[in-house]
Amino acid sequence: MNRQEKEEYLREYSILKSQGKPFFPYAVAKDSIMAVVVMGVIITLSIVLGAELGPKADPTTTTYVPRPEWYFYFLFELLRIIKPNWLVPLATLGIPTICLILLFLLPFFDRGPERRPEKRPIATTLGIFVIAAMAYLTYLGASAGSPNSIELATPASVKQSGGTMLAQFEAGRQVAAQSGCLACHKFGENGNAGPGPPLTDVGRNLPAGAISRTLINPTPPMPSFKDLPKEKFDNLVVFLSQLK
């Protein structure tokens, strides 16, 4: 806005203002009604939904699904969508930081005199786009599975044999999910694509013996898992060798 536009705005505004009503009691009345509505909503939510308290924090579990408050889902989801490692810092802080800086500086680069949303197509479109993107990411975040679980379908052969086999397979799935393999390996849709090879069908290439040898004596950077309890280790090997 140049000086003339500024003065014009101030003149217009002072006329509109002089035609208005005093803040007290007219605006105060509306604000008070709104305050009552807000309190009503909060009280209703509190009575209906209560305040649950989950199990006590346990830093030693790794199976727990971290879930932020729902209004952080969009940030969380941004992190999940952007996979290549070198892009991750960009996704987690780069994009939010840039958005935040743009938000702060908005009045300094958008300085046109026009205020009607339909006459500011760029600003309005961008605003709607950001809202839509955040809503979409929030939706994805709300419906996403756990980042610490392996959702591969149980192979038909394992299902058929049932009994100990099935039990060991499912237990092994838990061990794999809890032991941090997902940080380096992909199982189906879960886990990271590197640095290790995908394990979606390891059992096809490697027999159980080779797998357990790899786990005990792996090539770096993979850590050795020889210290896992015997039973867990065996279940893990069964699980992996059945992935065909």
Binding site: L16, K17, K30, L106, R116
Partner: protein
């Protein structure tokens, strides 16, 4: 029967003059009103507050001011609700890694109306975040951040960040699985940030890792540092709102005063 109190022994110069026979005795209501007014006068004589209050309350809001303009004050009420319920939660809460969960459990299951108050605090935070975004949306789409209100937009943006920070630090406090792991993830995300990320983490966690004092640090940030900043900035925000006046809806055009138009013809 009327009880007559003995007159206090005050010097004659301070006593009100005796009533003249033709004067009416002031009614009780009037007396009470007088007392109220003189008390307010007493304060005002010593503070000159009335000018400021009048300035805040009897300013005009432009024609066309509608319900969308209540979103800001609604956000403020949500914040006041957080402050009130937070005080009650703080009476029972213990920010130590060993007792935090137990105190949260006590509040939820045993304290009188504990779950209700905790629920109001928890859902109040959601309501506040929603309202802050709605309010920001209103000011954004209506171009209310433009001249001369740029600075108020910046103050508002800081308030938005602080509100999110409140929610982030508060989420850890009940110290259940959910809050613990969400915080770990959040802090790790934060740590990957460019330049300041790791330092910010050191500050948040009170050390390189989640440790014994992390919880009390989050608590201090959550209940002293950030709310203080928010309260101060809401004050600045409202000062600017009153100083500059709230915008009129962008579609309104000022009708020139018909008197003026007549003269210019």
């Amino acid at each position: 029967m009327k009880l007559k109190l003995p007159a206090p022994p005050i010097p004659a110069s301070l006593k009100s003059p005796p009533r003249r026979p033709d004067e009416e005795r002031p009614s009780k209501v009037e007396g009470a009103k007088e007392a109220g007014i003189s008390a307010v006068d007493w304060v005002d004589e010593r503070t000159s507050l009335s000018g400021g209050v009048r300035w805040m309350l009897f300013r005009k809001v432009p024609r066309g001011t509608n319900w969308a303009y209540t979103l800001g004050s609604a956000t403020m009420f949500a914040f006041l609700n957080q402050a009130m319920t937070g005080v009650f939660l703080a009476m029972y809460y213990d920010p130590s890694a060993t007792n935090a969960y137990e105190s949260a459990r006590y509040i939820t299951n045993e304290a009188f109306l504990g779950e209700f108050v905790r629920g109001m605090h928890k859902w109040g935070s959601t309501v506040m975040v929603v309202l802050v975004f709605l309010h920001m949306g209103r000011t954004f789409f209506w171009g209310a951040y433009k001249y001369p209100r740029e600075l108020n937009w910046v103050v508002g943006a800081v308030l938005l960040v602080l509100t999110m920070l409140m929610s982030f630090t508060g989420y850890l406090l009940p110290f259940d699985q959910k809050s613990y792991w969400a915080t770990i993830v959040g802090v790790n995300i934060n740590g990957t940030g460019p330049l300041v990320g790791p330092y910010l983490n050191d500050f948040l966690l009170a050390g390189p890792d989640f440790g014994a004092t992390t919880l009390s640090r989050f608590y201090a940030i959550h209940m002293l540092l950030v709310p203080g900043l928010i309260a101060a900035l809401i004050g600045a925000h409202l000062y600017l709102v009153a100083r500059l006046g709230t915008t009129a809806p962008p579609w309104l055009k000022a009708e020139k005063n018909p008197e003026l138009r007549k003269e210019s013809v």
